[in-house]
């Protein structure tokens, strides 16, 4: 409005001046037109020609992933338990109606990499559980059809067969049940119903034959999930340098990592929730803990009260699935499933196996490096009413943090040794630039997170930096969203962008 007024005033001036203004005005219009043409061109033009077709949503092209998985999986008799897994445990984790056969695994592998299972044909299981990215997508939160972003970080499918529950809040009891949900979730793969999903592949003679061979039935949703689960049960990646160290080879891991192992079982208190031993090869207690990551974002009390009202009306698994992925209630974690106040803001303890190649970390991918994760635990998590009783400041020095991180880099399966090395270098570099969660005053109890409440003094503020980091994490999510809309390939993004 103001500009219009100013413009009219200018027009009231003498002729020469007015012509000048007109000239400038038209040249400006011309400029706008050119911009419009350029933008239109870029909008409709298939810029990322090859990349878009091959690397949808930032995932490696499916044919390339299939080639890699051939190399990764060792040839072996699938009807027998894989090496590293005891016969009794194997018998307990494989359902009677889905014992492993070569046919079932072949069908599952085909389905795992098939983008046709999604509504718009762009998302497969392997989009967010990418063979080339540690069987995750290495993004803060995952991206589904039409570039929609969820609320949670994708856990790896590596060794998932050994987890007692699936998803970060354990809302599915088995791999079979897990496989059914993302396909139907509107912002992941977006199919309207199991029937719709089956319809997509039912006419494919190859699938008809494979279902017949695998389950002696025509294609159906339950067998589809079974087959995917069967394939995922072949993703056993438990052969790491750490295992050779534990078996007696003192040179298998560095001296730093060995010191890290002592800290892991001692002052670091890690093994309380991450038991790592022959009985618990993954390093998870399979439980749910509030370690305070949610507390950086949300008001738990308010959310839980609201969530309970919604759940009272509808509490099907699908409803929880949608709440977990699409709404702010996601931050309530396990509470959505158990409705137990102890579970507010609690998420499943994730496995430590291959942790180095599955960044970023935590349920919302808010931490970029393992150094960030150590900083978070070192300062005693983030204070909130429902913080797990075992989370305390650890008073670890920089040297000790490095030793623990070194240990974590020995837990990667040897088949990913190269990726492990790359991550170590990348994460070290990022950590050298920024350590947003580092707070030594809290770690060494020079200040306590509840100081203000127990002394009554105002101006005792802590944790601002971490909250800022969490907010920046959200900015990164925004950035990713933006990139997606621009049709950019995430891989092409300059490395420094995330750390801005």
């Amino acid at each position: 409005m103001q500009d219009d007024v100013r413009c009219q005033r200018t027009l009231a001036k003498p002729w020469v001046s007015t012509r000048f203004i007109f000239l400038r005005f038209f040249s400006f219009l011309l400029f706008l037109q050119i911009l419009l043409v350029v933008y239109t061109f870029f909008f409709f033009c298939p810029i990322p020609t090859l990349a878009a077709e091959n690397e949808l949503h930032g995932a490696l092209a499916m044919d390339q992933q299939l080639a890699r998985i051939e190399q990764l999986l060792l040839a072996q008799d699938v009807t027998k338990p894989p090496p590293h897994i005891d016969l009794a445990i194997w018998a307990a984790i494989v359902p009677n109606d889905n014992t492993l056969t070569a046919e079932r695994i072949a069908l599952g592998r085909k389905l795992y990499f098939d983008t046709r299972l999604s509504k718009d044909g762009t998302v497969a299981c392997a989009t967010c559980h990418d063979v080339s990215r540690g069987f995750t997508d290495q993004r803060s939160v995952s991206e589904g059809i039409r570039g929609q972003l969820g609320q949670r970080n994708a856990p790896t499918t590596l060794n998932a067969l050994l987890m007692q529950t699936m998803f970060l809040d354990g809302r599915a009891p088995t791999l079979e049940e897990q496989a059914k949900l993302p396909i139907l979730n509107p912002i992941e793969m977006g199919q309207a119903s199991p029937e719709d999903t089956v319809k997509v592949i039912a006419d494919d003679p190859e699938y008809q034959q494979m279902f017949q061979q695998a389950y002696r039935r025509v294609p159906n949703y339950d067998d589809l999930a079974r087959a995917i689960a069967a394939f995922e049960r072949t993703l056993v990646f438990l052969d790491a340098p750490f295992d050779r160290f534990v078996a007696g080879d003192a040179t298998a891991i560095s001296v730093d990592a060995q010191k890290g192992w002592a800290l892991f079982n001692g002052r670091g208190r890690c093994m309380t929730c991450h038991p790592l031993n022959p009985s618990n090869p993954l390093g998870t207690d399979n439980r749910f803990h509030n370690v305070g990551v949610s507390a950086r974002k949300q008001n738990f009390d308010e959310l839980a009260t609201q969530a309970l009202k919604v759940l009272a009306k509808e509490d099907s698994v699908e409803a929880i699935d949608r709440m977990a992925l699409e709404t702010q209630f996601s931050e309530l974690g396990r509470f959505l499933v158990s409705k137990n106040q102890a579970d507010i803001g609690a998420f499943k303890t994730l496995q430590l196996r291959n942790i180095a190649i599955t960044p970023p970390y935590m349920h919302d991918g808010s931490m970029q490096t393992l150094w960030d994760v150590m900083d978070h635990y070192n300062r005693g998590g983030e204070a909130n009413s429902f913080l797990d009783g075992g989370i305390e400041p650890l008073a670890l020095t920089e040297e000790e943090i490095n030793q623990l991180v070194a240990l974590m880099f020995t837990l990667t399966d040897t088949r990913f040794a190269e990726a492990n090395q790359q991550q170590m270098e990348r994460q070290r570099q990022v950590a050298q630039e920024r350590r947003p969660f580092r707070e030594e005053a809290l770690a060494f109890r020079r200040i306590l997170p509840f100081e203000q409440r127990v002394t009554g003094h105002e101006n005792v503020t802590t944790g601002d930096q971490a909250k800022k980091a969490a907010a920046e994490g959200e900015k990164i999510v925004e950035q990713e969203k933006h990139d997606q809309q621009q049709g950019k390939n995430l891989e092409n993004r300059p490395e420094g962008q995330e750390t801005k």
């Binding site: 307990a92 359902p95 009677n96 009891p173 309380t272 207690d285 439980r287 009390d301 839980a304 009260t305 309970l308 759940l311 009272a312 509490d315 509470f335 158990s338 409705k339 137990n340 106040q341 102890a342 507010i344 005693g380 204070a383 009413s385 429902f386 913080l387 797990d388 009783g389 075992g390 305390e392 400041p393 109890r445 306590l448 509840f450 409440r453 127990v454 002394t455 009554g456």
Partner: protein
């Protein structure tokens, strides 16, 4: 349901019950096992809908034929060390404060059940006093032995006033007692104040004497109650249980019989006590006893003497520092009886209703914890 024999040790019962569990599981194939799990999950979900986790007030109040007079919240047995020595206990007390502040409707007052400090040190008591200032409702303080035996109550008195007092609230007469006095065992042994404190803080030692209310306080109580009619609703707060539960751990009040005698003529008396850190319920005639949860740690049940009415909480999970801990509330009725809510931090709340108490456990049985007790 048959009550357990009282003389078996905790370990014996643990092994027996574990064996029983495994025997049951042995008969299950995987499918039935999943069915059992699914059934348990379904049951948990059903229970979950019945309460609002943030106010821990059960939505459905059954058996409430009597009008509700008021409700109060309780926090007890925080055992604070200096905050740099033990941070978890500080956080637990803060959590209890948050719980009470979240209660909707807000309680009329909060009863603090004693043992605010671990070793009665001034900095421990100061810390506790400061944290309790975060409460939005008035606090009534009670003393516990951990607050008292370092300086014989000097600091506690300076912070909170006299430990023995009474007040009337909405037609109910409330009395707060100092029930943890002990005979002098320290002078003759030449103990320092800290040695005295640490002796009292210990369990299973033959040195200290048993807790008592003492003659002086009993006289005061008699006078305090003298003017009241027999049908006046009465609530007594004491740190130790005002009956004889288990002597070796001082879950015990030596002159409990004498105190109970003073309460005999009243129609209904509710005693709310701390010290035992567990779900604990007892009835002796007209007197109804309720234990309080601790915010710091749960105690196991004593090997003998557990009152029959107790809804036993199963063994707390050693891997979850919050399990078996919590806070709670009392809904007091005009006839002086009360519903007792145990707000367990790692489990669904347990409500011991007046109906359950009046019927001697025949009606209004609360939802039992879904794990076996030992």
């Amino acid at each position: 349901m048959a009550r357990r024999p009282s003389m078996k040790s905790v370990e014996t019962k643990y092994y027996e019950e574990r064996q029983q569990l495994f025997d049951q599981l042995r008969g299950l194939d995987r499918r039935s096992f999943l069915k059992v799990s699914a059934a348990a999950m379904g049951a948990a979900l059903t229970q979950g809908i019945q309460f609002t986790p943030h106010s821990f007030q059960p939505v459905q109040v059954a058996y409430a034929e009597e009008a509700e007079a008021f409700r109060f919240a309780y926090i007890s047995d925080s055992h604070l060390y200096d905050r740099k020595v033990n941070e978890r206990f500080v956080r637990s007390l803060l959590r209890a404060v948050d719980d009470v502040n979240r209660m909707d409707p807000a309680p009329d007052f909060v009863l603090y059940g004693g043992d605010l400090a671990q070793l009665g040190k001034p900095e421990e008591l100061d810390l506790g006093a400061q944290i309790l200032q975060n409460l939005k409702v008035p606090v009534r303080m009670m003393v516990g032995e951990h607050d008292w035996f370092l300086d014989m109550g000097e600091k506690w008195r300076a912070l909170f006033g006299e430990p023995t007092y009474s007040f009337d609230h909405k037609g109910v007469h409330c009395v707060v007692l100092l029930s943890v006095l002990e005979d002098d065992f320290w002078t003759v042994r030449g103990m320092t104040p800290m040695e005295r404190m640490q002796t009292v803080a210990g369990l299973d030692n033959g040195i200290q004497s048993r807790f008592k209310v003492g003659e002086e306080q009993r006289e005061w109580l008699q006078k305090d109650l003298a003017s009241l009619a027999d049908n006046t609703p009465l609530i007594i707060f004491s740190h130790s249980p005002l009956y004889k539960y288990y002597r070796a751990w001082n879950f015990w009040t030596e002159d409990a019989d004498e105190v109970q005698a003073l309460l005999q003529r009243f129609k209904n008396v509710v005693v709310v006590h701390g010290h035992t850190h567990q779900l604990l319920t007892n009835r002796i005639g007209n007197i109804y006893f309720h234990g309080m949860l601790s915010t710091a740690w749960p105690w196991p049940y004593a090997p003998e003497g557990l009152p029959e009415l107790t809804i036993q909480m199963s063994r707390p999970d050693p891997f979850n520092p919050n399990d078996g801990c919590g806070d709670g509330a009392c809904r007091v009725y005009t006839d002086g009886l009360a519903d007792k809510v145990y707000n367990l931090w790692n489990r669904n709340p347990v409500q011991v209703t007046r109906t359950y108490m009046v019927s001697n456990g025949k009606q209004g049985l609360p939802a039992m914890p879904n794990l076996i007790s030992f």
